[in-house]
Symmetry: C2
Subunit: 95 residues, 2 copies
């Protein structure tokens, strides 16, 4: 019963990253309300903070050390599900 594109945020409950995850989810659902099928919050442990889009790894804290910049994350999502969308001022000076 999942809806695609499915974005998944797995977060460490021990690290108390629920609020960060929920904020990220809301930002993505605000920007891509017509394009995203769903955003799933997945409780995990052991310092995990991993973001996947339809199974493809977009971000892993273990690999990248630290957290994703929201503008960078939106570009990663945009490139995959809405390639012709402009993200407005957040793209000015994009890497």
């Amino acid at each position: 019963m999942t809806t695609t594109p499915r974005l998944e945020i797995e977060y460490c409950t021990q690290c108390r990253w629920l609020l960060r995850s929920a904020w990220t989810a809301q930002e993505l659902l605000t920007t891509f309300s017509d394009e995203l099928g769903e955003v799933a919050l997945v409780p995990g442990t052991g310092g995990v903070f991993t973001i996947r889009l339809d199974g493809e790894l977009l971000y892993s804290r273990a690999e990248s050390k630290g957290f994703p910049e929201l503008a960078d994350l939106k570009r990663l999502v945009r490139d995959r599900i809405a390639p012709h969308r402009s993200l407005g001022h957040s793209e000015k000076g994009a890497r």
Copy 2:
């Protein structure tokens, strides 16, 4: 790649119920962080506010008119995924 038990909140984007949905998701993930596999936020239209647990309908705004009381919703979820858990003071005087 979903994790069960899966709770799903489908909300109307036109009605701007993202914040309400995200708040509900965070409340449930705070209370049931060890029991829930995931909570999915699913953008919808047409006044929808529907909550399902592993496909079972727990709450539908169309049927119930209005929104669920969080304590009631937590009891519905608890009865299904953590039947022996007490919900503390919110159960005092429960209907």
